[in-house]
Amino acid sequence: MDIYSILFWFLSAMAVGCALGVILSRNPVNSVMFLILTFFAISGHYILMNAQFLAVVNIIVYAGAIMVLFLFVIMLMNLNADVEPQKGMMIQLAGVISGGTLFLVVLMGLTTAKSELIDPRSSDIGLISNLGKVLFTRYVLPFEISSVLFLSAMIGAVVIGKKENIPASDKTEIV
């Protein structure tokens, strides 16, 4: 065991443990905090693979912005363990089935896919200059398409968030 594998196992255990914490804790705020820790563990993995840019972007975008918004919503709605609605048996069953199906699909995809094995310690594919070159040459079309997707999602959010001038009589229908 060298320092690399010690770090790898520590980060993996942290990621799995925190991910379990997300779904097992009753308090939504604790869940969010476990999720943030999970992101940190994943960022640690990125750093082990010498992909510093991905690691730090993961922190900025997920831990720094998206999770703040999650926390924001949870705090505004003042969700607590006591007010959590108890879900019916059917919903729980549906959740298990759909989640399990997704898990199976991902598992099948991962086990059958042939991935090129590269030694993460010697590769510098995740460094920002290489990443930028690859994104803007080889993968420029998927990259641009995903940016269009983000743009449309943003416009959708603006449309939903916009105040509408609703006549007083129609108000109840919309709400």
Binding site: M1, D2, I3, I6, V29, M33, I36, Q52, F53, V56, V57, I59, I60, A63, G64, A65, V68, L69, L71, F72, M75, L76, L127, I128
Partner: protein
């Protein structure tokens, strides 16, 4: 079994450097509280703290001692773990940023090249940005865990303010990074070597004035300092997110704010005002040994930082507080479009002048 074959001298060197930087930032933050009171006193034609020591210089020590000896109160209905975690996170994120700052040029001592930067990672500026974006957790969690409506409102304000201004800050940085072509703080500083080269200033301030103004405004908001100090706006929210805090936990929050101010002054000086570079540095370098030259450079950086801190203070005691909707309007409707235009113009100019 050789688990860690790390050079012992390297570890010692870094430990010393980290301790010096940590002590330095704590010291500067301590005296920033004194300076803040003196500045406000001068601007309001008062005397200011003058009882403890000459010119009241021992005042920060007295304040710290007072905070240590105050009673520690944890509200009964609070979420205890998070309540304690809040100030710890605030302090942690405040002190973490200094790791990627280049405080001075390398110098050689006893045959070793010693770098005055804890870690020269190739994404240094993004690291700063990441830590800044985590900084809001301390305030948010602390405010929520206090179980107090004022604290909650204030922490929600702080979070939305930080996220809104991070956007404009990031975009204004992109324009700067397009010019430097590197994310490493060390490279950015080395590019600003000296003061004048090839018929123009080397400092980024003269190349990106609009970007600088956006960045500066955003750092005021990120620091939640006046005129954007809405999270602790006392006329609406009593004391804001640290209402329920007492003793040293309150001290941590207040102190983290001043450390943040020190660090962001350092970041602004490094990005826009040439870091440790100063005019005629080549002539000075030829005249003195490398160790002393490094010290002079650190002195130059510290002078810029002190200047920035004083500027932060002058603004605080000059401008009145914004209203919350004005703050949001300024962020989303003025700064972000301005930053986008700045980015486009910068890109266009780079494209036109690129020699290939």
């Amino acid at each position: 079994m050789l688990l860690l074959n790390i050079d012992a001298a390297f570890v010692i060197e870094k430990v010393i450097l980290i301790s010096v930087i940590l002590m330095g930032s704590l010291g500067v933050a301590m005296y920033a509280t004194w300076a803040e009171r003196k500045v406000s006193a001068v601007m309001q034609d008062r005397v200011g703290p003058n009882r403890a020591g000459p010119f009241g210089l021992l005042q920060p020590l007295a304040d710290g001692l007072k905070l240590f000896f105050k009673e520690e109160i944890i509200p009964d209905r609070s979420t205890q773990f998070i309540f304690i975690l809040g100030p710890c996170l605030a302090m942690l994120t405040a002190t973490m940023t200094s790791a990627v700052m280049p405080w001075g040029p390398d110098f050689t001592m006893a045959g070793r090249t010693i770098s005055l930067q804890v870690a020269d990672i190739n994404i240094g500026i993004l690291f700063v940005f990441g830590v800044v974006s985590l900084g809001v957790y301390g305030v948010m969690l602390g405010g929520w865990a206090s179980n107090n409506k004022f604290s909650l409102l204030s922490s929600i304000r702080a979070a939305s303010q930080c996220i809104s201004y991070e956007l404009a800050m990031g975009i204004s940085l992109i324009a700067l990074l397009m010019m430097t072509g590197s994310l490493s703080m060390k490279d950015i500083v080395t590019q600003q070597h000296g003061f004048w080269k090839d018929g123009y200033f080397t400092w980024n301030f003269f190349k990106q004035p609009v970007g600088f103004i956006i960045f500066l405004t955003c750092s005021f908001a990120e620091l939640s300092r006046a005129p954007f100090d809405l999270p602790e706006c006392d006329s609406e929210l009593n004391m804001g997110y640290h209402q329920e805090y007492s003793s040293m936990k309150l001290g941590f929050y207040l102190f983290a704010e001043y450390i943040n101010m020190f660090i962001s002054s350092a970041v602004i000086s490094t990005l826009f005002f040439g870091g440790y570079n100063f005019p005629f540095m080549d002539q000075v370098q030829a005249a003195v040994p490398s160790g002393i030259f490094s010290l002079i450079c650190v002195g130059a950086l510290m002078a810029k930082i002190v200047g920035m801190i004083l500027f932060f203070m002058f603004v605080r005691w000059t401008l009145p507080r914004f209203r919350y909707d004005q703050l949001m309007k300024l962020g989303w409707r003025s700064l972000i479009p301005l930053a986008l235009i700045n980015m486009l113009v910068t890109g266009g100019v780079i494209l036109l002048t690129m020699k290939k």
